[in-house]
């Protein structure tokens, strides 16, 4: 790896690059799934290559190849330089990188049990045990369970002298029960929808998830939803479970604080942001209870956004995004930090592989738990009338991140402090800042979970990134409920 990095940097600088960096990566991804008592898929993918990023004539170029010979690496570096020279034909002005010290470091993410050392029979056995539990419930028509393990070994080197070697191991697992009857399809997932829970851990995560123990309940809820009432439409009090709040943070805080969006870099695809530069330290983003950080440090927890250095060699940091409701910070890169006059990037550049350019991506964007002891049961007990919604089913937000609509798999009506009837097809919608300003309670730290979102898409070519979101159940007042079915009936 070090040889490849050296060849790349020498060739890039020798060809005229004013700045160059290279990421040499080896990736491994094992994915297992079962469906209705049989294998769904079983794959083990390995990938390796180098991505070389350069600045020439004040413009960027990037080239990547999976060929590891010296001649191929040098040709790739020269290709990056040629691409940058072409970019200079339609050049941006004032490209500067905020300074970052050169780092020499090696970091390995905590991993108690190497998931690639765990037998495939054991993994499939657990998934099939979950499958049996789910399908033991009459009315479950489809049971799906999956398990994923990834290891990324990366060397970052730059012409400024950084040499950073990192190894990250990720694990994840989850399942869903679907129940189809009488022209209606209902679904329950555990621990979260869209694949389950993912963290920067080894196989030790899997038993912690208590997959089998929850399977029967999940299957029963999928079937029970057929007998549930349709979620009503109106305006009311809403309590979200921590996984749904995690996705709410992702969409309505995590994306709008990306400084590349704010500056227009994503205007054609992912969109822009309502958080224009004049809003910084002026906008009342949420109520006084809303405190949000972007924290890539391991001290924050084993999130999908945890690392020691980002993909342009900037050390992991904790950034205050919202403090007591006030908007206080963006997530940035060396280029965008410099563009708004900051003297350092806060280290959020990430690529989803050796063949992709690093972009500003969420790290762990988390809301801080409440300081007073409070559980979701306490919240419900403290609510005269409202709705409790759990586990995301659909999510959509406009391209400046104002208007959102979420659907969840299940909900319950709250009456006089008690969770009463189950509701199917729950949904809610709103405008981002109005919603966060309506938060009047959040549960305490023991109810806070660092969720992993493994499927965040951004960029052209599109990249898929894992992000972390710590959240606890929280309550919101005056929220539009059931709008997904407005005008169309149930």
């Amino acid at each position: 790896m070090h040889d490849i990095a050296g060849w790349a940097l020498d060739a890039a600088v020798g060809s005229g690059a004013a700045y160059a960096d290279v990421r040499v990566e080896q990736l491994r991804h094992r994915s297992l799934a079962t469906k209705n008592g049989k294998l769904g898929h079983a794959s083990d993918n390995q990938s390796q290559g180098a991505g070389i990023r350069v600045i020439v004539d004040g413009a960027w170029g990037f080239a990547a190849s999976d060929e590891g010979s010296r001649s191929a690496i040098e040709a790739t570096a020269r290709r990056a330089v040629a691409i940058a020279r072409a970019s200079a034909q339609v050049r941006q002005h004032g490209l500067r990188l905020a300074p970052e010290p050169a780092h020499q470091a090696t970091w390995v993410s905590p991993c108690e049990l190497d998931p690639f050392s765990v037998s495939i029979e054991r993994c499939l056995g657990l998934l099939l045990e979950v499958d049996r539990e789910l399908r033991s419930v009459a009315g479950v028509t489809l049971a799906e369970a999956q398990m994923d393990f990834q290891r990324q070994h990366q060397l970052f080197a730059s012409s400024e002298g950084s040499r950073i070697e990192q190894t990250r191991t990720l694990s994840g697992a989850g399942y869903s029960a679907l129940a189809f009857a009488n022209g209606e399809l209902q679904k329950r997932s555990y621990p979260n929808s869209f694949g389950g829970q993912y963290q920067l851990k080894g196989y030790e995560l899997i038993p912690q998830l208590r997959l089998v123990e929850n399977a029967r309940r999940v299957g029963e809820e999928a079937v029970a939803l057929h007998r549930a009432a349709q979620c009503p439409q109106g305006v009311g009090t809403l309590i979200l479970d921590s996984s749904q709040l995690g996705l709410q943070i992702h969409e309505s805080i995590g994306h709008p604080i990306e400084l590349d969006r704010v500056l227009g870099s994503e205007a054609n695809f992912a969109g822009m942001s309502f958080l224009t530069l004049d809003q910084l330290r002026r906008l009342r983003y949420g109520s006084a209870l809303v405190n949000v950080v972007a924290d890539a440090r391991i001290e924050h927890g084993p999130g999908l956004g945890t690392f020691a250095f980002d993909d342009e060699g900037v050390a992991a940091q904790r950034v205050e995004i919202i403090r007591a409701g006030e908007f206080t910070g963006y997530i940035s890169s060396r280029e965008t930090a410099s563009a708004i006059g900051e003297n350092r990037s806060n280290g959020c550049m990430r690529a989803d592989g050796w063949n992709r350019l690093p972009l500003i991506r969420m790290t762990n964007i988390s809301i801080e738990a409440g300081t007073a002891a409070l559980s979701s049961e306490d919240l419900i007990a403290d609510t005269d009338h409202g709705y409790y919604m759990e586990t995301n089913r659909s999510w959509s937000i406009d391209d400046k991140r104002f208007n959102f609509q979420f659907g969840t798999e299940i909900g319950w009506e709250i009456e006089k402090g008690k969770r009463t009837r189950m509701l199917k097809n729950p949904s809610y919608s709103g405008i981002t800042t109005e919603f966060w300003n309506s938060m009047d309670a959040i549960c305490s730290r023991e109810h806070w979970t660092l969720w992993g979102t493994p499927n965040c898409g951004k960029g052209q070519p599109q990249q898929t990134m894992g992000t972390g979101h710590g959240a606890a159940p929280a309550r919101f007042r005056g929220v539009k409920i059931g709008t997904a079915f407005a005008g169309g009936g149930a």
């Binding site: 080239a63 495939i120 399809l185 695809f269 969109g271």
Partner: protein
């Protein structure tokens, strides 16, 4: 050829994999080539990337068990290692009595397709940058800010197996996408083609600029049911969500909105949809993930759900459960093993004869939609989707475009929508951002359900 390999090379890798696999049957998929993308924003190129890669994916099958592994190491040692990993996964499973042997060779389903263009494979970064400069020049001339992409690729896919299947598909492609940002409005256009010379980025930029100009100072119209005119990009982005339901396995699994509805007249009389990989405006490999040639399949004929698409395995499962309505594999399967079966990916929706201008002229009060964004499924059986309009949303009054309106959120059943189509334009090859490219018309739809309005 910049695909980095040819069919002879793929044959050598198959032999190497077969040697390493011993008694196991082997299927290999080789994908190689070069792709480059020039990205611009704020009237300047800010990201410009190129990638060269060559990857080998190996599926091994031992009796009734199968699994897959992949690698970018294609030397003898790399091939042996990837086969060993595939075999490790294969041996660890229980037997699946329904697993079929690997596919045997079959004659091509349609006329041979040629989608390789040497000049496109040779396009340089400087040529793409020059195309970007043309789009940016339109922005400068309009006083707007442009953002977008210009991309080219040249690649090949080979699929071979121990039973004699040999498929080799080289292709090139070019694409642009452009957004024009004005003070409080925007416009968008996108195009794609097999050949670089067929791309018209400057024309696209002019369309986007005109949309941005015409939608300036948008007013807020109330949510509700409107007659909408969906331009082709908006149509394909919606239709893409429905197409997954036409997979046979999706119906067998009872997760499709077509469960219990195959053969029913589900849509309006004016809706006809075909899947046709060999259509002259289509792209993509003319065989599926097992090497089975893709058949032309009539999915919807004058509103009636006629056929589904099937992988071999799904067809066998269907025939076991429904012997009275036996089907054959159509060549639409995903690479095995997978839990989703198949889907139509070369969708051609029959058009009509009504130009968009006539649709506008016949609309007393309605909305013209350029593009949709962040579409997600809200309810699967009515196929209710939500999403936003974006980059060129116009109010129509008295048969004329009155001006821009703030963007809407919709919550709309696709089944109901395809029963409310009043007029169709001729079909064109179209590109969106939420789904794969299709051949589709613009649609005039009554009572399209907008539920909220955003701030811009």
């Amino acid at each position: 050829m910049s695909a980095r390999f040819d069919l002879d090379g793929a044959r050598r890798w198959l032999r190497e994999a077969e040697r390493a696999a011993g008694s196991a049957a082997v299927e290999i998929t080789v994908e190689g080539g070069r792709s480059e993308l020039t990205r611009f924003a704020n009237n300047a190129i800010h990201q410009h990337v190129g990638e060269s890669s060559l990857a080998l994916s190996v599926r091994t099958q031992l009796g009734q068990r199968t699994a897959r592994a992949s690698t970018h190491r294609l030397d003898a040692e790399g091939v042996q290692a990837v086969v060993a990993r595939a075999l490790e996964l294969t041996r660890a499973q229980a037997e699946d009595p329904d697993l079929l042997p690997m596919a045997a060779p079959a004659p091509a389903a349609g006329a041979p397709v040629s989608r390789w263009d040497e000049p496109t494979a040779a396009v340089t970064p400087a040529e793409r940058a020059a195309a970007v400069a043309e789009m940016v020049a339109v922005a400068h001339a309009s006083g707007f800010t442009a953002a977008g992409t210009c991309a080219t690729h040249s690649s090949a896919v080979a699929l071979l197996n121990s039973s004699g299947v040999e498929a080799f598909y080289p292709s090139t492609g070019a694409e642009f996408s452009v957004t024009m940002l004005a003070g409080n409005s925007s416009g968008w256009a996108k195009g794609s083609a097999v050949r670089w010379r067929d791309l018209a980025p400057q024309g696209g930029a002019a369309i986007a600029a005109e949309k941005a100009r015409a939608s300036a100072d948008p007013i807020e119209a109330p949510p509700g049911k409107y007659t909408v005119i969906l331009e082709p990009a908006a149509v394909l982005d919606l239709l893409g969500f429905l197409m997954w339901d036409f997979g046979g396995l999706s119906v067998l699994d009872q997760r499709s909105c077509l469960s219990d509805r195959v053969g029913a007249k589900l849509f309006g009389e004016n809706i006809t949809i075909t899947d046709d990989a060999c259509h002259p405006l289509q792209t993509g490999m003319p065989c599926d993930g097992e090497g089975v040639p893709r058949q032309q399949v009539s999915l919807v004929e004058r509103g009636t759900v006629g056929n589904l698409v099937f992988a071999r395995q799904s067809a066998a499962q269907w025939n076991k459960q429904r012997p009275h309505a036996a089907v054959a594999a159509t060549g639409h399967g995903f690479p095995l093993p997978n839990e989703y079966g198949e889907a139509p990916l070369n969708v051609v929706m029959a058009g009509g004869s009504t130009p968009v201008e006539e649709m506008i002229a016949s609309t007393q009060r309605g909305i013209l939609v350029t593009r949709l964004w962040y579409i997600r499924e809200v309810e699967p059986y009515r196929k209710m989707l939500t999403g936003m309009t974006r980059d060129g949303t116009f109010l129509i009054e008295g048969g004329r475009l009155k001006g821009g309106v703030r963007n809407f959120r919709f919550n709309q059943s696709m089944i109901e929508m395809l029963n409310q189509v009043e007029a169709l334009s001729p079909a064109v090859r179209a590109s969106g951002e939420e789904s794969f490219d299709m051949v589709v018309p613009a649609l005039q739809v009554r009572d399209f359900n907008f539920t909220e309005v955003t701030k811009f």
